[in-house]
């Protein structure tokens, strides 16, 4: 009698083990991109409400449109970012002779060419943001403020490699 009870109890426990709650895997919901009569446009894929922006987008947009004031801290930041992201192709001095170019990659134009010395800062910003020729976009790698810092440092590079000594007479005595 005891054995029979034990067998019944075991079978009961085994049966209870098979009773799972499948509500998590079989939910009453719309599948991805399926028809959804609940919504007015009849689709599950609902677009964002008009005017929605991601957190930080407005500040980022302000950084794009408003260049930061140039001081030594910004130029030092630009130098650091330039050496990391730009110098492999453009070279440390901006002549377009970085190590990648030495190994066969197409040479970028020199920052000291007439065209790029006359280029507007916004043009350089757009090139960093969207890429140009074989250069791809750096928008995902360099924040807008750092792009402006790099542009300011490029202006310093252009100043360094071609300085009008009439505008900086105090440096004349240091020339060989």
């Amino acid at each position: 009698m005891t054995m029979r009870r034990l067998a019944c109890l075991t079978m009961l426990l085994a049966a209870l083990g098979g009773c799972g709650d499948h509500s998590m895997s079989q939910q009453n919901r719309y599948g991805t991109f399926s028809k959804a009569p609940l919504f007015r446009d009849g689709t599950e894929a609902q677009s964002l409400p008009k005017g929605t922006v991601a957190q930080g987008d407005l500040a980022r947009a302000r950084q794009i449109t408003t260049p930061p004031a140039v001081d030594m801290a910004l130029l030092s930041r630009g130098r650091e970012r330039y050496d990391i992201y730009c110098s492999p192709c453009h070279g440390l001095s901006g002549h377009g002779d970085g190590m990648i170019v030495q190994r066969g990659f197409p040479a970028p134009p020199s920052y000291h060419s007439a065209r790029l010395r006359a280029a507007d800062a916004r043009h350089i910003f757009d090139v960093i943001t969207n890429g140009y020729g074989t250069m791809y976009s750096y928008a995902a790698r360099i924040e807008p403020r750092d792009r402006w810092a790099i542009i300011a440092y490029i202006r310093a590079l252009q100043q360094s490699q071609q300085t009008d000594m009439a505008a900086a007479p105090q440096l004349r005595s240091k020339l060989p």
């Binding site: 002779d97 007439a114 071609q162």
Partner: protein, 134 residues
């Protein structure tokens, strides 16, 4: 199996071989091989005239492998840093000179709101051929 049939099978092959037929087959085969070789020679002579000339030994340029990337990079960096940290005349006639980058950064920082402006138009530097690499 009948005994008579087994007996017939056991008989040796008759001695009368059709030698003409054998010679004809061999002759046809040789003719076919000869015609194939002649056709191939004609084809190669028309399509690839130099196929039978002796091969000229050609040597590919050796690959530009870096045996020591660290040394190469250090050499390039040293050359470019020297360019960024020295004084030198670029065009003495036009009063243009190269100055260290730290001095240039101070000049740009001193421009204030015009720091991003394009530098005054001057004759461009000639393109550099070698950036310090061998």
């Amino acid at each position: 199996m009948p005994t008579e049939e087994m007996g017939n099978r056991a008989l040796p092959q008759p001695a009368d071989i059709h030698s003409r037929a054998v010679l004809a087959v061999v002759g046809c085969f040789l003719l076919f091989v000869g015609a194939a070789i002649a056709g191939l020679l004609l084809f190669l002579n028309n399509r690839a005239p130099g196929a039978f000339s002796p091969r000229v030994e050609s040597r590919f340029p050796s690959p530009e492998l870096q045996t020591s990337p660290e040394v190469d990079f250090a050499r390039l960096e040293a050359a470019q840093q020297a360019q960024l940290s020295s004084y030198a005349w670029v065009d003495r006639d036009h009063d243009l000179a190269r100055i260290p980058i730290d001095e240039a950064m101070q000049l740009v920082a001193g421009r204030g709101e015009h720091a991003y402006d394009a530098p005054q138009l001057r004759p461009a530097l000639p393109p550099r051929v070698n950036g310090g690499m061998p």
